[in-house]
């Protein structure tokens, strides 16, 4: 039998084989591959085909024995781990190494062969070569020394320090030294001293606001740059020239002019100190005695405003600024027909009682004025000579910006009242004026002109009277005051010198809507109630103040006799039932219909000399003070005591809500209903 050599099985390899039956002879395997044996003649082999089972062999069935198992020969290292997981710092996770080394080294041996051209090989060769030449050199040296010069006189064997190569033999112990000194140049020093650069100490703080400022300036520059690029380039040259001039001018001008703003502030501060007690009163004083007097109130005098140049002129009109409620405008002129002179227009603020903010001098007396509700720098003024002017406080002109002339339709008689109206359709400013010449005129500001339009003529009778030549003349009444309805735009009232009040509409220019025979003498003031749409008040030189309902024109709702010619009357802005009137005997009368329907709550004289007539009165839109002007040119501000300014109590939680119009209207209605006749 051919003995089958057992192959040396490398670890991990298996040989695909069929299940073999274990035999007693371990050397021989019973494989299918062994068919070439052909050793069937071997008796011992054939006999040897007896099954010898070891004791612990598995007992398998025939089917199981026939079962085929597939073994695959691979090159994988069975001992190599299949899944190595390493921490990846880049991704910060554990990651499986995709491929693991399958090499298993069984035996390693480092050889000692060198390449002949490598450094080490050369070195070794050199060493070996030198060893041969060593003996040669010793021989040659011995020969030379006998006949050679002995400068150093030392014979030493070279054996101790062999030179690396035959070519360059260096005698390290026989050497000579030579030195020489060169000529040293003398040293020369040259120096210059320069002027030290000028020094200045600079210190600064880096605050949040400095950084903010720097950014802000930068932003401004950028915006300017943007604007400049938008300009037309042809004008640039001219602009540059003018700019240069301006710049030179600014730096040369007196430095003091730049302190304007600070000076104004300081002036106000100084005044605040001087009038400190008045300022405190204005804010905080409340008359405590009002609690004990139910139906009486007082007026506390506060600041007094006067200007030297206006001392001889009467106060002809006062108007509070609707937006900046501490400012008001006073017009000065003269009511005396014989003493007509110039006039003044003064802008005051409560913060500076000693000097007006703006001063305008006019040729003719100012009779009336009005501040535009939206553009508070525009003030329209009516003059004694019948012209109408508009002042613009933003521009630094000494006179009016617009003025009506004889050509442009100015009145032929003094203008008694002017009022701004809403802008017309072309967004032009619009104002109305009424005058003794019997015309109500509407003026429109177009570019730089005042264009007039007659609104209505105040005719006296329906029938025209006969004139001197038989011509038909229309007698015109003299308008003395007017007022426009707060809500209904076209409706307005005109008071005349004859004592009549005409109800007119802007739409109808020839007819009145209604005429009321209000007073026996000239109607000095007509005012609509700021809350109630139907009620208006009128005062006259016939000593009376009357309250009307325009639906019932034949009779006044209330009449008050004040024992003296009434100069002006005004409704309070905070209540529908409070109003105040001023009389020629220097008294201010304050009424509250809610509390007392027949008498004034307060009758107080506010003038120093009893003969001074009070000419105008105005309530401040926000604070509880009134401004009273007299014929001597003084304007006095007074504070209303609590009794005079009662407003209906507000419900809890609604304290901050503004004045409730409906409540005010209802309050007035209630009072009126008591007065009205039951069958109306």
């Amino acid at each position: 039998m051919a003995p089958k050599a057992k192959s040396v099985k490398p670890p991990g390899s298996t040989i695909g084989a069929k299940p073999s039956k274990m035999k007693g002879r371990p050397k021989i395997r019973d494989d299918d591959d062994m068919t070439e044996i052909g050793d069937l003649g071997d008796d011992s082999y054939v006999h040897g085909k007896t099954l010898v089972k070891p004791d612990d062999q598995l007992d398998l069935t025939e089917v199981e024995l026939k079962e085929e198992f597939t073994r695959i020969l691979t090159a994988n290292n069975p001992h190599a781990p299949q899944n190595i997981v390493r921490f990846n710092f880049k991704e910060r996770t554990y990651k499986q190494t995709s491929s693991v080394e399958q090499i298993a080294i069984h035996f390693a041996l480092d050889g000692n062969m060198l390449h002949k051209d490598s450094d080490e090989a050369r070195r070794q060769r050199a060493k070996a070569g030198m060893g041969e030449s060593k003996s040669e050199a010793a021989l040659s040296e011995a020969g030379e020394e006998e006949g050679g010069e002995g400068e150093d006189g030392e014979k030493e064997e070279v054996v101790e320090a062999p030179p690396p190569k035959k070519e360059s033999l260096r005698n390290q112990f026989n050497f000579s030294e030579r030195a020489s000194q060169t000529f040293n140049n003398p040293y020369r020093e040259r120096g210059t001293a320069t002027e030290p650069p000028p020094r200045a100490n600079f210190s600064s703080t880096a605050n949040q606001w400095e950084i903010y400022d720097a950014y802000y300036e930068d932003l401004q520059k950028q915006e300017k740059a943007k604007d400049k690029t938008k300009q037309i380039p042809t004008y640039r040259k001219e602009d540059d020239k003018t700019k240069k001039k301006l710049v030179a001018m600014e730096t040369a001008s007196d430095d003091i002019s730049r302190v304007t703003r600070a000076a104004k502030i300081v002036e106000r501060m100084v005044n605040q100190n001087t009038f400190d007690d008045i300022a405190q009163d204005f804010s905080y004083f409340e008359d405590a005695s009002d609690e004990f007097r139910d139906q009486e109130g007082t007026l506390l005098p506060l600041w007094k405003f006067s200007f030297d140049k206006a001392k001889r002129l009467a106060v002809t009109s006062i108007c509070w600024n609707p937006k900046y409620v501490d400012m008001f405008v006073v017009g000065h002129g003269s009511y005396d027909f014989t003493k007509q002179g110039r006039g003044m227009l003064l802008f005051y603020t409560l913060k500076n009682p000693s000097h007006p903010e703006y001063i305008y001098s006019t040729e003719s007396g100012v009779m009336c004025l009005d501040i535009h509700p939206i553009y508070q720098y525009l003030v329209c003024v009516g003059f004694y000579d019948g012209s109408v002017g508009v002042f613009n406080t933003q521009e630094k002109r000494p006179g009016p910006v617009y003025k009506s002339t004889a050509k442009s339709g100015k009145h032929t008689d003094p203008v008694w009242q002017v009022k701004w109206q809403k802008d017309d359709l072309d967004n032009n400013l619009n104002l109305y004026s009424v005058s003794s010449d019997g015309r109500v005129v509407s003026w429109t500001l177009v570019k730089d002109e005042l264009i007039y339009a007659d609104v209505i003529k105040l005719t006296v009778d329906d029938l025209p009277t006969e004139g001197p030549d038989g011509t038909q003349l229309q007698l015109l009444g003299c308008g003395t005051s007017f007022d426009f309805h707060k809500k209904i735009d076209y409706l307005f009232l005109v008071g005349t010198e004859e004592g009549k009040i005409h109800k007119c509409s802007k739409a109808y220019s020839s007819q009145f809507l209604d005429t009321i025979d209000a007073h026996h003498m000239a109607v000095d003031a007509v005012r609509w109630n700021p809350f109630h749409p139907d009620i208006f008040i009128s005062c006259s030189a016939d000593w009376t103040v009357k309250i009307w309902d325009h639906n019932y024109g034949n009779q006044a709702m209330f009449t008050f006799d004040l024992n003296s010619a009434v100069g002006d009357v005004a409704w309070a802005p905070f209540s529908s039932t409070v109003f105040a009137a001023v009389t020629a005997d220097g008294k201010v009368h304050v009424f509250d219909l809610n509390i007392n329907k027949y008498e004034a709550l307060c009758e107080q004289s506010v003038v120093q000399k009893k003969k001074t007539k009070l000419t105008h009165i105005e309530f401040n839109p926000r604070h509880m003070i009134i401004c009273v002007g007299d014929e001597r040119g003084y304007v006095t501000s007074l504070k209303l005591s609590p009794n005079l300014r009662k407003v209906p109590k507000k419900k809890k939680g609604e304290e901050n809500v503004g004045i409730d119009h409906e409540i005010e209207i209802a309050k007035l209605d209630k009072i009126l209903s008591l007065v009205r006749e039951p069958d109306n």
């Binding site: 605050n207 606001w209 003091i256 302190v259 304007t260 703003r261 000076a263 502030i265 100190n273 001087t274």
Partner: protein, 96 residues
């Protein structure tokens, strides 16, 4: 220009005002109604105080700025109105 002059004159002649000083941004007095030594002293000290006050206000909120400063003492009151380049100092005796 004359408007400012007028205002300053008015302030000077106002009741209780002892003096008025205009100081520029470096602390040098430009115009004064007091004597030299007092002016220099006031200008230097008040200037520093105003700068500090302004810095404080603006540090808290950079969009804010100092409008005026009042310093009330037993004898009188010093009022300072700072401007971009100038400083106006007024000394007043308020109780007069």
């Amino acid at each position: 220009m004359s408007e400012v002059e007028e205002t300053i004159k008015r302030i000077q002649s106002h009741k209780g005002v002892l003096g008025i000083i205009v100081v520029n941004s470096e602390g040098i007095p430009i115009r004064t109604s007091l004597d030299n030594s007092t002016t220099v002293q006031y200008a230097g000290l008040i200037h520093q105080l105003t700068m500090k006050a302004r810095s404080t206000v603006r540090d808290i909120d950079p969009q804010n700025d100092l409008t005026f400063l009042r310093l009330r003492s037993k004898k009188h009151e010093i009022m300072v109105a700072p401007d971009k380049e100038y400083l106006l100092i007024v000394i007043q005796n308020p109780s007069e």
